[in-house]
């Protein structure tokens, strides 16, 4: 090595990793360290008597609590019920929102006809529909599905609308030039693939929104994770509440991860 050559960056005394580089702990080290500190503080707060364990159950008791819930059959039943509400509500809300959003973007008449209806209904939070959900469907899975549908419908409507409106006019002209005259003729070969990145971004936002709606919808008594949380909190079994909260986080993480894998596969042309 030439005498003029600088030593490798990591060998220099007092060297700091450049911004954006994870440094010596690497890609997994920092997140693991952060999680460990978070769990340690959480464990310490009830252990030091800063809060009673009933108000903040320590993380160390959660694995046993979870296992007990599994053995008792509560956990699996709640997960199955919530997942069925979630998937059904997500499917209906996403399909409906995307379909209407695409239709409004392509049809100026439909867009104009629904513009005031959308303005009136859009600001109403999904949870505000709970009284009507109970009146119309009763305290049963259909009302939970209804709340979830409302929760994801608007997100998908607006993102699909925006995504289709953002399709380059040049692509419409190209389609016309090759005989794809009319909006319906262009829909599957040009419009939907071109709008897919935007539409899928809306679907992903809906995945998270739907979990919020699931729990809110189940808190009023429909079987599922939300209902189990309410039962447990009324008995001050907060460790069960925390287990259910972490279950929701894990389920959302899994669903999101699977969706991202699917999205990346569908949009691999983007590179």
């Amino acid at each position: 090595m030439s005498k003029l050559a600088l030593p490798a960056a990591q060998e220099r005394p007092g060297h700091r990793a450049p911004p954006g580089h994870p440094g010596r702990l690497g890609r997994w080290g920092w997140p693991a360290l952060g999680l460990a500190i978070f769990l340690a503080i959480w464990e310490a707060v009830p252990a030091l008597g800063l809060l009673p364990a009933t108000l903040l159950p320590p993380p160390s008791i959660l694995p046993a609590t979870w296992w007990q819930e599994v053995v008792d059959g509560h956990w699996l039943a709640a997960v199955q019920a919530s997942l069925s509400h979630y998937l059904m509500g997500l499917a209906i809300g996403t399909a409906g929102g995307v379909a209407l959003g695409v239709a409004m973007a392509l049809s100026p008449r439909l867009d104009a006809s629904l513009s005031w209806v959308v303005r009136v209904l859009r600001p109403i939070p999904g949870l505000a529909w709970i009284p009507f959900a109970i009146l119309w469907f009763g305290v049963n899975p259909a009302s939970a599905v209804f709340i979830i549908v409302i929760g994801v419908f608007w997100i998908n409507l607006f993102t699909a609308y925006a995504a289709v409106r953002a399709v380059e006019p040049e692509l419409f002209e190209l389609a016309d030039a090759f005989g794809y005259r009319g909006r319906m003729a262009k829909l599957t070969p040009v419009i939907l693939p071109a709008a897919a990145p935007g539409i899928l971004a809306g679907v992903r936002t809906g995945l998270g929104q739907a979990w919020m709606a699931v729990i809110a919808a189940e808190l009023f008594g429909v079987e599922g994770l939300g209902q189990r949380m309410m039962q447990a909190s009324s008995l001050l079994a907060t460790e069960i509440v925390v287990v259910m909260m972490l279950t929701i986080a894990a389920l959302y993480g899994i669903v999101d991860m699977l969706f991202v894998a699917l999205r990346d596969r569908l949009l691999r042309w983007q590179g």
Partner: protein
């Protein structure tokens, strides 16, 4: 004389514009002829091409393309300046785009895609996505896509305008070769006088407001050495003079 494209008393108007961009335009293009439409930016060259493609309706006059009715081909096909490949389709699928609309049987479509890609020298890149192709390669795919629908007339709207000088010259050579192999009638829009004279059998200059044909010259020079031919320089000077006079006016 048989005619591939006939334009009669054509007037075109942009939506919302006070006056027409083109008026009283007459032009007849013979089968197999390459006519270059030359003119300054905004004069209405691309608009004229869109009218021939049927993408916009004339406000007066008529455009007709002589094409025997056939379910498996389009009378005209267009090549745009910006290639306009569908980013989610590979090169072969982009070439297949028009054939899908024509519902050409799969085996026949595959053969046409292969033939068109071979004609533009991209057989080996059939599976590449547009983002994996260079500007020149993307434009070749766009030409192959247009040729695959077996048009009577190929409409080319400044197809090499976005390419660098070296690639543009190479593509001009490619187009001359493709034309010799296919015998296609071509309407070629450009604002580059040299490009028009190197490629065309006839050059038509559009100028004025509304635009009409300000100058029309047949280029009867051998394709092989046109670029260096002294007569080409003289013709270019003639077009430049008319263009300069009209622009100043």
């Amino acid at each position: 004389m048989s005619v591939a494209v006939r334009i009669e008393r054509l007037a075109l108007r942009f939506p919302g514009a006070s006056g027409p961009v083109l008026a009283g335009l007459d032009l007849a293009v013979a089968p197999g002829e390459l006519v270059a439409i030359l003119g300054a930016s905004g004069v209405g060259k691309s608009t004229l091409l869109r009218a021939v493609a049927g993408l916009i309706a004339p406000s007066a006059g008529r455009v007709s393309v002589a094409a025997a009715p056939a379910a498996d081909r389009l009378p005209v096909a267009m090549v745009f300046q910006d290639a306009r490949l569908l980013a989610w389709r590979d090169a072969a699928a982009n070439v297949r785009f028009g054939l899908e609309r024509l519902e050409v049987p799969a085996a026949q479509a595959r053969q046409r895609v292969d033939d068109s890609l071979a004609l533009v020298g991209l057989t080996d890149l059939a599976a590449r996505l547009p983002r994996q192709l260079s500007g020149g390669q993307r434009q070749r795919v766009a030409i192959a896509r247009a040729l695959a629908v077996r048009p009577e007339v190929l409409l080319m709207d400044e197809p090499f305008g976005a390419l660098d000088a070296i690639t543009r010259e190479a593509m001009q050579g490619e187009l001359t070769r493709i034309r010799q192999q296919t015998g296609k009638t071509i309407l070629f829009v450009t604002h580059d006088i040299e490009e028009a004279l190197v490629l065309a059998d006839r050059v038509v200059l559009l100028a004025g407001q509304p635009a009409g044909i300000a100058l029309e010259r047949r280029v009867e020079l051998p394709h092989a050495h046109r670029r260096e031919h002294p007569n080409l320089l003289a013709l270019a000077a003639e077009f430049r003079a008319v263009l300069g006079t009209r622009e100043t006016a």
